[in-house]
Each structure stands twice: as structure tokens, then as C-alpha cells.
Symmetry: C2
Subunit: 329 residues, 2 copies
């Protein structure tokens, strides 16, 4: 490690996903000064991907007119089981990684302290630190995107469980006879309410002759459909899409009730790409369903809220991680 | 409080249920010296029930040839939301209680320190302290009886959540289109795998003409059916009961997988009256189903075991509570 030469007051947060890498520079007040996005190219393997993470970090630092000496630490949220003490990726199904020394490799390449955590835990930490005041003793952040995951924060710290895989709420079975999930089981939350599940249901219905304004907007194949397109369809009064989104909100509300009944956290936050686009339409239904399914008395005073961080939850939380961990040193 | 006159080395654990009160005297090594059981008589209201708890405690102390001065503290597990700091029962649906000062009232009547906690948390604590070695960092105890509840122990302490109602796993929805639950929703774990659910399914099938040895054993109305009768029917090779028990084990395995995916505890313990009688038949199916439904890698090394404490889990855990809390004083 080089001697301190700059003031080292900034932090870099990295969100490493299966398709993209997002990096942002943050002030100690968690203001984002700039972001850089890059494709992950997972086919290049751990070495190739980590080289891209390094490039992404260096680029965003330069983009913000800073030098590496201005950075105190780097935090990274990674999609899988992470041992935060060792900074080691235990396994990451989406990247097909096993036992990758994330922290060690990046510290060598960046010549900066690096701290790693599971991506959903990092997102939850970002929400906890920047969106919740006063701080709750317990929170669960549920993130709906291509897949569905959750991060648990207990007593201000990410809770990751025995195998560092806590928060896999996407594979909580809600309907034992439900649609098949990518994991091989049936009726997982993710198979009912993720973007992938919504899009699949829409595409199947369209093939079966269902009318929707989405085909006018995107063509008969619904090419490049995004969560934002669903919002546009809703604004145009598309009843079919309304029903699809309502159903997803009801499943999400049921999952929230399961969480309230079982872990009884003080706050449940909903985030991710789907919520970023559809929170206005989904939140009221999610809350009503959750309160309906939670046992009497268990949901009293528990806040169910939507995160406004959107795609920035990961980099924000990763910056929080970098800040916390570098302070503790 | 009277001055110390006896050696005060024993503890009393009380399990307060909707139908019965069980109290036991324990040595500091958690050996049970004797037990006394009494009906709860919930219709007499909090005052009447607490008077019976007091009587039960005094009786078991006498039964063990001890005097009140030999008791250091009393612990009690109660069926509902308990604020352990204040020793106050926030609410108890089965007893129809709201805001009952459990600790204060019993301390006055018994002239001994009393500590209260939720019944499932207390059961989990009993399992944790007497059946697990080495101690796991996190465990979930799932108790299958008339209803289904869970206790969560994190870092050696009961975790009860924001409203002190964590662990209500009986109302985790596993099948959104499943059978109606007592709570008003559909497809709750409790509506699929509790003793009540099993008995209801058997009774309905018998009414519809299903043959089972249980009618030979108990008569056509299946009067006073108990979990032990199911075990006897299985031993006699009753295929119908085998199927009912298998289904319950599969639902239980699915719930265990949901817990492993979401909270990822080091140990999952199954207990309660149903397990006490049917563990031999159910455990292999529960474990296989849980490992099947848990995401790859998440269940690795996690122990799924049956408690041997049976009906004594509550009094044992309550004694542990009394011992721990009176030490901290």
C-alpha cells in the first residue's frame, strides 16, 4: 500500500452484476460525484471480469477529476455468497464463479483497500444508510429485477447467515403448484414476480392472442421489453398489463407478509429495477396484501416503503461498506 | 423479596399453553427433578390463569421436596407476543389476552424473580442449551403441534423482532391456493402440516369413505385422535396415513427450505408433539425435500435435526431463561 499522499476522502462503490459493472465515486456525505458503467463479459472468467472492474474503478475516478490517492477505499457488491471477512467470493451462480479472492485480487490491481459483500446485502446497506432515519434495529430490503433477492440488516450490520447466502427470498416457495422457476422448483417468488416472470407471462399471452399496447410499442415479438414499457402501457390504460402488474404486486405482498410473520423486521424496503419503474402502481397493493396476510398484531407499526435509489442502491451501499470498513481499520 | 435463606440453586420453568400449564423444577445442570401439569382454564381470564400458574409452581416445588427459598428464579414461556424486558404479555390470541403484566403479577404472587418470553423462543432456547454442542451462531426451531410456530436464536439470544412476534412461521404462505387457515388466509404452513391440519384431512377423507385402521382403533368418529395414533397406524402398514404423513413432511421440508434460503441458520431443529411421535417417519422426507428446495450451496453443512425434548422443550427453555436472566442481575 502506498503512503498517504492525497487526502483520501472519497470512496468508490462498485456493483458487480451478471451483465454490467457500475462504479460510482462518493463523498463522505454519500453524495455521488460520478458513475461509469461497463459490460461484465462474464465469459472472460474471474480474471477478465476483475480486470474490467479495475478499469471501471480507474475510469470513474478519472471521470470525477480525482487521482487514486484521493480514494480511501473501494467497496464491491457481488452476486453470490461472499465471505466479507476474507473478501472471498464463495460461489456466484450467475457468473459461474467458485472461490474467487475478490478482495485480494482487486487490492493488488488497484493498490487500494477493497471490501466485498453480497450484492443484495450491499443494496440493503445503501438504503439503510441513506434513506432511513431514524435507523431501524432490523430491516429487510427486497430487490425485484431480473431476479429477486433480499438483504437483511440487523443492528445496523448486514446479516448473511451460515453459508453467507441469507436473503435468497427469490426462491421462497409461495405456490407449491406454481410456475417452474429457473432453480428447478415450482412457485418460487422469483418465478411469480421478477421482471423475467412478468415478461414471460406477457409474451406467452401475446402468443396466445392477447391484445396489448406493448405490441404497438415494441412490435409483435416484444423485442427489448423493459420495466419502463410496462409503466407506459399502464399509463395508456392497458387492462391486461394492469392485471399482470397487480398479480405481481399481490405475490410480492404475500412474500412481504411471510417476512413480517417470520422475521418481523421494523422496516421492509422494496427496491430494484421493477420497483424503480412501477412503485407508483404496485406499492398500495403490496402494502394492502402484506397487511392482509400478516397475522393480526404482527405488522403493527412496521414500515413498508419503496426505495428511491433505483439502480444506484448497489454503488451507494458499496460506498457505505467501504466507508464503514475503512473506518474500523 | 425475602432475604436469601435457602441455597436458591434451583430453577422453575413454566410452559403456559392455551389448554395446559406445565411446570418443572431444574437443577443448575438442567436436570429436571419433577413436573406438574394443570389445565389452563383460559375462560377464567388473566387473573384466574396466573393464579393457576402460581399454584402449579408452588406444587411442583413441593413435589420435589423443596421450599420456595430453594428456588432462584422462575422462567415462563407464554403463547403470544411478549416484551421480555418488561415481562409484559403484549397480546396472546389463544388466551384472548392483551397487555398483561405477566412478570409483575407472578413476582408478587410467588415472591421470586420471574422472567417471561414467547413460548416458541423459549422452546428454541431449551433446544439450543441442552441439545446443541457446539453452539451454533444461528438456529431456528420449528415446533409442530396443534399449531406451528418457530423460535429464532441468533448469537445465543432469542430474536423476537419489532413487534416481538418473529417466528410466526405457521402463517408463512406455502400454497396461495391451498386450504383455508384459521387466520383467514389460504395455504399457510399451519393449514398444511399441523396436527389440526392432518386430523382434518383424515376426518374429511374418512367421511368420504376412505378406509384406515384408525377407525378400528378409535371408532368411526375418530374420537380423541392423537399424533401417537398416527404412528400406530403407520406401524400397522396403513397406506393412507402414510400418504398423509408424507405430504405433511414434504410441506415441512418446503418450509425448512424457505428458512434456509432466507435466514440461512446454521441449525434447523424440528420439535413439538407431531415430531415427538412421528420424527422417525418424517425426518428423512423433511431433509430430502429441504435440500431439494434450497438453492444449490445454501444448505451446505446446515444441520436439520429432530429435538428429543418433546413436551419438555418449553419448561426446559423457561428454566434456561430463568438461569440466564437471574445470572445477569
Amino acid at each position: 500500500m502506498a503512503e498517504f499522499s492525497g487526502k483520501r476522502e472519497y470512496f468508490v462503490g462498485v456493483d458487480l452484476g451478471g451483465t454490467k459493472i457500475l462504479a460510482g465515486v462518493f463523498t463522505p456525505q454519500l453524495k455521488c460525484l460520478g458513475k461509469v458503467k461497463m459490460s461484465t463479459k462474464p465469459e472472460r472468467g474471474p480474471e477478465g471480469v476483475l480486470e474490467r472492474v479495475t478499469r471501471c474503478v480507474k475510469e470513474v475516478v478519472g471521470e470525477c477529476n480525482l487521482k487514486p490517492d484521493d480514494i480511501r477505499a473501494v467497496g464491491i457488491g457481488a452476486p453470490g455468497a461472499v465471505d466479507p471477512e476474507a473478501g472471498r467470493m464463495i460461489f456466484a451462480p450467475n457468473l459461474k464463479w467458485e472461490d474467487v479472492p475478490l478482495k485480494k485480487a482487486l487490492e493488488k490491481q488497484l493498490d487500494l483497500p477493497v471490501f466485498a459483500e453480497n450484492d443484495c446485502n450491499v443494496c440493503a446497506l445503501g438504503v439503510y444508510e441513506t434513506e432511513l432515519d431514524p435507523k431501524p434495529r432490523s430491516m429487510v430490503g427486497i430487490f425485484l429485477g431480473t431476479g429477486i433477492g433480499a438483504g437483511i440488516v440487523l443492528d445496523g450490520k448486514p446479516y448473511s447467515g451460515f453459508n453467507r447466502t441469507a436473503g435468497e427470498i427469490g426462491h421462497m416457495v409461495l405456490d407449491v403448484d406454481g410456475p417452474k422457476c429457473g432453480c428447478g422448483n415450482k412457485g418460487c417468488f422469483e418465478a411469480l414476480a421478477s421482471r423475467t416472470a412478468l415478461f414471460r407471462r406477457i409474451q406467452t399471452a401475446v402468443k396466445d392472442g392477447q391484445k396489448t399496447v406493448l405490441t404497438d410499442m415494441l412490435g409483435p415479438e416484444l423485442t427489448d421489453m423493459r420495466s419502463g414499457d410496462l409503466r407506459k402501457a399502464l399509463r395508456r390504460g392497458d387492462k391486461f398489463i394492469e392485471q399482470i402488474v397487480e398479480e405481481a404486486a399481490e405475490y410480492t405482498g404475500t412474500a412481504v407478509a411471510n417476512v413480517i410473520n417470520f422475521l418481523n423486521p421494523e422496516v421492509v424496503v422494496l427496491g430494484g429495477g421493477v420497483m424503480d419503474q412501477l412503485a407508483d402502481e404496485m406499492m398500495a397493493i403490496i402494502i394492502a396484501t402484506a397487511e392482509d396476510y400478516a397475522l393480526p398484531g404482527t405488522a403493527k407499526g412496521i414500515k413498508i416503503i419503496a426505495s428511491k435509489l433505483g439502480d444506484d442502491a448497489g454503488i451507494t451501499g458499496a460506498a457505505v461498506l467501504a466507508m464503514r470498513e475503512s473506518k474500523e481499520r
